[in-house]
């Protein structure tokens, strides 16, 4: 089965992101396909490479990045939500005149249309949120 995943909450405050991670891992292990993971609302905060939690805690952003690399998975951060919350890639840095960027490996910034397209293309859409 082909899944689309929406993550509506940031890391740590809410369990939603880790639940999504666990779901995605289990789905891949069971042979399913993840069409796309779309990060929305505070979920965009999963896409920064600047988190450094204590060593005995999970690094949620890095785990997403590693999973994306291993499975060639599409991780999309909503541009409108990202702009509000300061998640920036090279293109956004240049467009908005910022002095740096913070997008994590394996994530890309794109529009809300990517969420709708994922819903259309996937067999099931699963939303993780509050």
């Amino acid at each position: 089965m082909k899944f689309a995943i929406q993550v509506n909450e940031g890391p740590y405050t809410h369990e939603a992101s880790v639940s999504a991670l666990n779901f995605v891992k289990a789905a891949l292990e069971a042979g399913h396909e993840i069409f796309r993971v779309f990060f929305y609302h505070d979920g965009v905060n999963n896409g920064t490479r600047y988190t450094s939690p204590p060593q005995d805690d999970i690094n949620i952003a890095n785990t997403w990045s590693a999973l994306a690399k291993e499975h060639n998975m599409d991780l999309v951060v909503c541009v409108a939500a990202a702009q509000r919350r300061g998640i920036v890639d090279q293109g956004e840095q240049e467009r908005n005149g910022k002095d740096g960027n913070n997008i994590a490996d394996g994530f890309r910034i794109s529009g809300l249309g990517q969420l709708i397209e994922a819903g259309i293309e996937a067999d099931r859409t699963v939303v993780f949120g509050d």
Partner: protein, 135 residues
Amino acid sequence: MSDVKKFCYLNRKAPYGTVYAWESLEVVLIGAAFDQDCSLVFADDGVYQLMKGSDTTGLGIKNFSPTYSALGDYDIKKIYVEKESLEERGLSLDDLQHLVWEDEDEDYAEKDSIMVVTKDELAQILEEQDVVLSF
């Protein structure tokens, strides 16, 4: 692109206290361009999103409540509001904005978009959806 799917946007949170209502509306407006079979559901505190007369002057944040009246122009014709959620909050249809869409086939007659449905009817509506995006 595949066949048309039934997309439902499920709104369960009050506006302004958190950003979910506004960012949900942004998805709805973008999603309208994809020509899917769209409906909106307002339940629990989400029914407050459609209240008449919202004024955010004292909050100092953008008032997006007038945007709901534009949904008809985006071809959103089905807005379901859960009856029990209204009643539990002492609200009725009269407390909500009058949202309409124009029927091209009937000389652009204005038709009501909001349908008040029971919890059981809503369960059936959600059951029929291909995609439910919840906010």
